[in-house]
């Protein structure tokens, strides 16, 4: 009799959660933060504009695919004078490299609510492998829109900027950049 509730649940699952569903990134609820450490202090770079395509099957998360692009030109620190430097040719050089790209290769589930995220990061025109750890922060029907489904992940990891040819301010400014991503995606 234990299967009955499960069958009932499956029957009522929203259609948007069907295998192979495509998803959109929810703007406003999605952001990327990168910590730049300098002599024991930290400046957080915030990227609030990103877009891309995500194919995610809730039954087969290991088959998930995604391409996400971050708008580097919109990076902000909360202080205009610092933003100008960060966007400028000596740091992110957004005129030449206006976007930062991420391609998801593999999602490896490590527990009920965690996964390893393996992919490729493109920064300054150089593509290198990156691995992030994902933790689910929301997983269920969209509040107020039960025919859609929300999947939210907090992703954390770190990038060694030297792998992308970035050496500005070394060693006073750390080579390792801790990254935090809050990604909320919604079934289309």
């Amino acid at each position: 009799m234990r299967v009955l509730p499960l069958l009932i649940l499956l029957f009522f699952l929203p259609p948007a959660a069907a295998p192979g569903a495509t998803w959109e990134i929810v703007p406003g609820a999605t952001r990327v933060e990168v910590d730049v450490h300098w002599l024991g202090r930290v400046v957080t770079l915030r990227f609030d504009r990103l877009w891309g395509s995500i194919a995610f099957d809730r039954q087969r998360p290991d088959r998930a695919r995604a391409r996400i692009t971050v708008d580097a030109r919109r990076v902000s620190t909360g202080l205009a004078v610092v933003d100008a430097f960060v966007r400028g040719p000596d740091y992110l050089n957004v005129e030449t490299y206006p976007t930062i790209g991420f391609r998801l290769d593999r999602l490896v589930r490590t527990s009920q609510s965690t996964a390893d995220v393996l992919g490729q990061l493109t920064l300054f025109g150089i593509t290198r492998p990156i691995s992030l750890q994902a933790q689910v922060f929301r997983y269920g029907p969209t509040p107020g829109a039960p025919d859609r489904f929300d999947a939210g992940f907090d992703l954390t990891g770190a990038v060694d900027r030297r792998a992308f040819g970035h050496t500005t301010g070394l060693p006073q400014i750390d080579a390792t950049l801790p990254i935090r991503i809050r990604l909320l995606m919604r079934s289309v």
Binding site: W38, R41, V42, V43, V81
Partner: protein, 193 residues
């Protein structure tokens, strides 16, 4: 409510300046320690330092006003007759030192910020002007700053701040002693005139 100080009590401008500056100085000492020793976020730290500069310029202006007002007064309340001579000398010396520090602390802070190479016209990665509440920039006595000069003046600024903190502790303790132990009017008249 009396305007001017006299043998009968402190006028309201003196009392407003005393308590206003007391609050400002306490806040500035706390802010100074917090922004340098505790705050790790560089952007928040930057904003706190800019606030510290603005409040420091305000403190300097108030200190000049206060000193000018004090010198312009015809008299001031007498110390309690029962006070021993050494306490009278200590009171005079500590009040002189407090006035000197009220002037020296903001000036040394201003000189420290001005001596920073980050305040120079061609600063890298960007210039940090000494703005007062974003309204105007303080004059720059060191158009060509050096890190060594900034460090020396910074040490002086911190030393003066520590001296002021210690002196204020004695000042507050003495006021409490007058109020609770001696039961005289010293603290009360700074409040009520």
């Amino acid at each position: 409510m009396a305007l001017r100080d006299g043998p009968g009590g402190w006028g309201w401008p003196s009392r407003v300046l005393h308590w206003g500056m007391a609050a400002l100085i306490a806040a500035m000492l706390g802010l100074g320690v917090y922004m340098i020793r505790i705050e790790r976020d560089l952007i928040v730290q930057y904003q706190l330092i800019q606030l510290h500069k603005s409040l420091g310029a305000t403190a300097l202006l108030l200190a000049v006003l206060r000193l000018g007002w004090r010198l312009a007064q015809p008299g001031r309340p007498a110390l309690p007759a029962a006070m021993p001579a050494w306490q009278r000398r200590a009171a005079t010396a500590s009040h002189l030192a407090l006035y000197a520090l009220m002037l020296a602390l903001p000036v040394s802070g201003w000189l420290t910020a001005s001596a920073s190479p980050l305040n120079d016209a061609d600063a890298v990665p960007f210039r940090i002007p000494n703005m007062v509440f974003g309204l105007f920039e303080l004059p720059d006595p060191f158009p060509r700053g050096t890190e060594a000069l900034e460090a020396a003046l910074g040490t002086l600024h911190r030393g003066l701040a520590l001296t002021l903190a210690l002196l204020l502790t004695v000042h507050v303790a003495a006021a409490v002693k007058h109020h609770l132990h001696d039961r005289d009017q010293v603290l009360r008249r700074m409040w009520r005139g």
